[in-house]
Amino acid sequence: MAKRKTGIHGREGIAGWVFTAPAMIILGVFLFVPIAMALWVSMTNWTGNVDPFGGGPNATFVGTKNYTALFLQDGLARSNFMQSLGNTFYYVLLVVPLQTAMSLLLALIVNEKFLRGKSFFRTAFYFPSVTSSIAISTVFLFLFSNTGAVNGLLKVVGIDGPEWFSDSRGLLHLFFGLFGAGENPGWAQGQIFGRPLWDWLSGPSVAMCVIIFLAVWTTTGTFMLMFLAALQDLPVEVDEAAMLDGVSPWQKLRLVTIPMLKPALFLVITLGIIGTWQVFDQIYVMGKGSPAGTTMTPAFLSYKTSFTSNAWGSGAAMAFIVFLIIVILTWAQRRLMREDKSPGLLHRAVRAARLAQANGRTGPK
């Protein structure tokens, strides 16, 4: 190794670094450095008006205190954060499956060969996605206002619509109420991270349902496009072969189309999980966490903690916790959707035998 290698391949490494340097510098300045700085801030008590790296009483290093306070220290910071996690959990739980199913359905419909005015429908379904989320949120504010179109329609069919934006009751609480479980029953007295079990089980509030509806409506178009692109990439022969085998349309969808769409499905669900955990602008426009904090999300709480309470450290810590949650969920989802899900014994034996056979034919390398 002491002798420098020369020759035609000798300088490849350096050339490679030189060519990638611009991209790496840009990534560094705009991605890695800010993330590293934010990570540092999350471990200080920075108050937002001095150099966060300069130390002093307004930027003291406090280690993991900001993180532990959000989980272990009884107080307002923890109860707010836990409520926001609970809210967002139900939000993700409803939005991701709904938007995935809806977008797949729409993609299947507009991919239908015999549909007329295909491009019209494609554009129409995609429209909510290209419109500004602030504008759509404002429209929803009007639609779901107490005297708005939605309550007007409900009235026509004889239902007295709820006060959408001021109703903090959880859907699951309302559901339990049907079976006579009143306020805070005995079986839900335990606490998890200082929050009563009964509150964890509240389900999304009525106000949150509007935001869920809005999110599904706006994101479906984008994901429909992704499914559509994947659908158009599918080999026609497989479809035809399946039809020759006499499958019903439902069987074809379940056993042929969806398995082949797996990469697209993975993409859509991953993007869905990332997007839903980071929901911010709809919350900002539609009530800033009210009523009773039931539409508060970690992203918005992080912003509020930083910008209005000047507790930038705590706000940054929240952002990193959400980042971790997203990473863990994506990883779990990857495991679940892996191509070969722990093949059975027989399967493995057959494969091993085939492999041995193949090796025997060509001989060891």
Partner: protein
């Protein structure tokens, strides 16, 4: 395989480059500004950031700033923020805050604690600001900034409904019993006797009238779980059970605020501040209104005050010029010009007296200046009050007032300990 191996030398190079990037990004702290900047003399360019209620306010402040610029030889630019709190936070963090800005009374502690404010109260000797306002803007025994103006809460009565219910001027409530009787008589069909906003900045008047408040007078201890506060909330709950008092979110249809319920005729009375004048003339011109002082509780009269002050950024390089501008803006004539343009009351005793003679119909608001209570101005109380507000909103649904006060006590005590 060979091409994928990263040689130690290259790795060190990359690490070094990244490290240099980190250092250059953080070093010097140029983006964040370090210690207080040197003060500049001579003609200054000042930036004023306001959270405006509308064009009339923006234009009035712009006109005043222009007049001062002409007189003093400086220039002052007015920026109407769309989200003042957020834009100020950004300005402080970026090291370039506006020189002068509206600082809300609830945020004084937050701002002062971390050194965002230039406390110039000692340069305002001789200005006769209302004592309650001076208290509101005092943090750690220092007046932080000059009170800009203020508003108080009063009782608004729909006189048509009042007469229809057979009530006369003699029935105008003087105490809680009178309020209860009147509200009960006014409650009929879709109309609720009294509708108020569902947070402490309206319901808090009952706490004040029974002699309680969230924190002690010196702002050093929590007094939220006192018997007086409980009595105030119980009085509200009693009237809610009787159906004569509702929060704006509990009426059918729900209203955005007390003024909306009042303007749309679902409330015969409401408790609101000076700003309702604008809504009444613009949005609900047909409603006939009488504005009276709030009824007294067991501990006498009580109302809440809302105010902004002229905050000067500690990082501004033009402190002297900014203080001069503040003196100009808080002169009696200028404050009365603001009153005329968009409604708030002058922050000085003399200005207040002149306001009363100029606007006798708003005398009830001005009277509140003598006994009004400003908001809690301690650092870290923003989330505490917000959490209490969301609990208070459930008072009409049978929530336990004692438990919510106990929680407020606990959260507030933690905030005081941290601050």
């Amino acid at each position: 395989m060979r091409t994928r191996t990263i040689r130690p030398g290259s790795a060190a190079l990359v690490l070094g480059a990244c490290g240099a990037l980190v250092l250059s990004a953080c070093g010097g702290g140029s983006g964040f500004g370090g210690a207080a900047k040197n003060q500049a003399t001579g003609p200054a360019k000042l930036t004023i950031m306001i959270g405006s209620s509308g064009d009339s306010e923006t234009n009035a402040v712009k006109a005043a700033a222009a007049a001062w610029s002409k007189q003093s030889g400086n220039t002052a630019k007015v920026i109407a923020a769309s989200d003042l709190g957020q834009q100020l936070g950004q300005g402080f963090a970026g090291g370039t805050p506006p020189d002068l800005f509206y600082a809300d009374a609830t945020r004084i502690g937050d701002f002062a604690k971390v050194g965002n404010l230039y406390p110039y109260g000692d340069q305002l000797k001789g200005a006769d600001y209302l004592p309650s306002l001076v208290k509101t803007f005092t943090y750690k025994d220092k007046l932080q900034c000059a009170p800009k103006d203020y508003s108080t809460l009063a009782l608004l009565i729909n006189t048509d409904m009042w007469a229809a219910a057979g009530l006369t001027d003699a029935d105008i409530p003087k105490d809680w019993a009178g309020l209860e009787t009147a509200a009960k008589k006014l409650t009929k069909g879709k109309v609720t006797g009294l509708v108020i906003g569902n947070a402490i900045d309206r319901g808090g008047v009952f706490m004040r009238q029974s002699g309680g408040w969230v924190v002690s007078a010196d702002g050093k201890t929590m007094t939220a779980d006192s018997a007086q506060n409980l009595a105030g909330l119980q009085q509200m709950q009693k009237m809610m059970t009787a159906g004569s008092l509702k929060f704006n979110t509990d009426t059918r249809p729900a209203a955005g605020w007390g003024g909306e319920a009042f303007g749309k005729g679902t409330a015969a009375m409401t408790i609101e501040g000076n700003w309702i004048r604008g809504a009444l003339t613009k949005d609900y011109p047909t409603i006939k209104t009488k504005i009276v002082e709030l009824p007294a509780g067991p501990a006498g009269k009580g109302t809440l005050m809302f105010s902004n002050c002229w905050g000067i950024a500690a990082k501004s390089t033009h402190h002297a010029q900014a203080v001069d501008l503040v003196k100009y803006l808080t002169s009696i004539d200028q404050q009365l010009a603001f009153s005329k343009a968009f409604g708030p009351m002058p922050s000085t005793v003399a200005g207040n007296t002149r306001f009363k003679t100029l606007y006798p119909q708003d005398a009830a608001f001005a009277a509140g200046g003598a006994y009004g209570q400003g908001p809690v101005n301690l650092p870290g109380f923003d989330p505490v009050i917000a959490a209490f507000g969301s609990k208070l909103a459930t008072l009409g649904k049978g929530a336990d007032p004692k438990a919510m006060l106990a929680e407020l006590q606990k959260n507030g005590t933690a905030a005081i300990a941290a601050g």
